[in-house]
């Protein structure tokens, strides 16, 4: 099946373990809650084409392991990400306190220009809330992040989070603030011909020999 899209954006999903990163991704792609899920070791992937301001955008999403010790491994996934969902759990102060570290990782390892949306997940568990909406939105403002509270369980604001982040990136491309041609921008043009023209290495025929093993 050939897919047609105008742009391809690389996205990251980052944040502490157990905040629901994989469930957000699953809800976004499958439109349902993933009830029984393994914790992510290393990285998982997903992709989906969405329509944003008359453009078809393919999101290529890298869902990373949250446990701190995986950082030495997950660093290699950050390169060239255009956008990120930075996730914490509204019922866990600890996951909120870790945001600054995640943020500096993303800006340092992906790109200074990475567009980040802060997601306060598990919105459905309001009774157990440890982080107020106001507090988080202030943090978002101070750090130039967009902000939504989401629920991977009910699906509330999940699609919106991805769409808003993509829309901001598109705006930045249109205003010239982001240059898709720049190496490591995390953005590619969708048109295959154009892509091949611009990236001669990809136009080469791939090796046709059998694996010699």
């Amino acid at each position: 099946m050939s897919e047609s899209y105008d742009f391809l954006f690389k996205f990251l999903v980052i944040g502490n373990a157990g905040t629901g990163k994989s469930c957000l991704l699953h809800q976004f792609i499958e439109k349902r809650f993933k009830d029984e899920s393994n914790h992510t070791i290393g990285v998982e992937f997903g992709s989906k084409i969405i329509s944003v301001v008359n453009k078809m955008v393919k999101l290529q999403i890298w869902d990373t392991a949250g446990q701190e010790r995986f950082r030495s491994v997950t660093r290699s996934y950050y390169r060239g990400a255009a956008g990120a969902l930075l996730v914490y759990d509204i019922t866990s102060r600890e996951t909120y306190n870790a945001l600054t570290t995640w943020l500096s990782d993303a800006r340092m390892l992906a790109s200074q220009n990475i567009v980040i949306i802060l997601c306060g997940n598990k919105k459905d568990l309001d009774a157990d809330r440890e982080v107020t909406f106001l507090e988080a939105s202030r943090f978002a403002q101070e750090n130039e992040l967009m902000f939504l509270e989401t629920s991977a369980l009910t699906g509330e604001n999940v699609e919106e989070a991805f769409v808003q982040c993509a829309r901001k990136i598109l705006n930045k491309i249109e205003s010239g603030e982001l240059d898709p041609e720049r190496m490591g921008s995390g953005i590619q043009y969708g048109d295959a011909a154009l892509r091949q023209l611009r990236s001669p290495r990809r136009a080469q025929p791939q090796g046709t020999q059998e694996c010699g093993c």
Binding site: G18, N38, I41, G42, R69, E210, C211
Partner: protein, 293 residues
């Protein structure tokens, strides 16, 4: 009818008898470094795995040396921060396996005890999420020795795999690049061309010892080999998996691009059967080849 049965199973009965003999003479075999342990080629009979794995990996010995240690750790409280993290993960291990389904079932409870004890035994390392599925498979096979097997795996077989910096994983991911280059050059080239690094697809494979990526019976046979030969088996299995997915030119043609290649690698489980003799033979063949390099 009985005779027929006997005929069918005679191979495995013989194999079992052979293994029972090996177990009986374990100390002598080990001291002589005899090559008798080799029957792992055909896999350890299922009925004897619980006995063999702890002997092979040295867990049985450690248990003897530290007779009451696990019991003591088990009775003492652990650091609450570790307890919280472990508890959160308990229902995320083999959620479809009967043993681990219920919150207070013996599977989840056993898992908690083993993982908690490890954080007390090795406080500098604590708990790594990838130890969960490994401990779960150990518990399925030999609940009483699971803790000491986990210790042996984490300390002797895979040092640096679960520690705070994961230096062992980083090193072996780099090794895998080398192994692929040597044993499967076309696939290696494909990965390079598309910017796919082993850390992107093999972190989970290596750290969880393929628990999530191989059909169960084939997984057990891979572990048989692993307990005999150690970490190189993991690298060989990884190489064979890559080759199953990207070994042929038409397979590589189907996945032009980084994400396409990663998707393909993620679906690797479909390329391996349960009781996949051919797969195991390939792993062993590659393994011998690698020694020859």
């Amino acid at each position: 009818n009985e005779k027929l049965k006997e005929g069918f199973s005679s191979g495995s009965v013989q194999r079992e008898a052979k293994w029972i003999k090996i177990i009986d003479q374990w100390d002598r075999i080990l001291s002589k470094k005899s090559s008798k342990v080799r029957p792992c080629q055909k896999g350890i009979p299922a009925s004897l795995r619980a006995k063999c794995w702890p002997l092979l990996c040295g867990a049985a010995n450690r248990m003897k040396q530290h007779e009451n240690l696990y019991k003591t750790l088990d009775e003492q409280p652990a650091l609450q921060s570790w307890v919280d993290v472990i508890e959160r993960d308990l229902d995320r291990q083999f959620p479809f396996h009967e043993m681990f389904q219920s919150k207070d079932g013996h599977g989840q409870r056993g898992l908690f005890r083993v993982l908690k004890a490890y954080t007390q035994y090795q406080p500098d390392e604590g708990y790594c999420q990838a130890q969960g599925p490994v401990a779960a498979v150990l518990l399925m096979n030999m609940p009483a020795q699971a803790f000491w097997c986990l210790v042996q795996i984490s300390e002797q077989y895979l040092p640096g795999y679960y520690s705070p910096l994961l230096e062992g994983v980083l090193f072996d991911a780099a090794m895998l690049t080398w192994v692929l280059k040597k044993t499967c050059p076309a696939a290696h080239k494909h990965l390079q061309n598309h910017g796919v690094e082993p850390l992107m697809f093999a972190t989970d494979w290596l750290m969880c010892l393929f628990t999530r990526h191989l059909p169960f019976n084939t997984l057990l046979r891979v572990w048989d080999l692993f307990f005999c030969y150690g970490v190189r088996v993991l690298l060989q299995v990884a190489a064979v998996l890559v080759r199953r997915v990207l070994g042929r030119a038409e397979q590589r043609k189907q996945c032009q691009g980084q994400m396409e290649t990663l998707e393909k690698l993620r679906g690797v489980k479909e390329e391996v059967h349960d009781e996949d003799d051919e797969f195991i033979a390939e792993v062993r063949f590659r393994f011998l080849n690698l020694i020859g390099l």
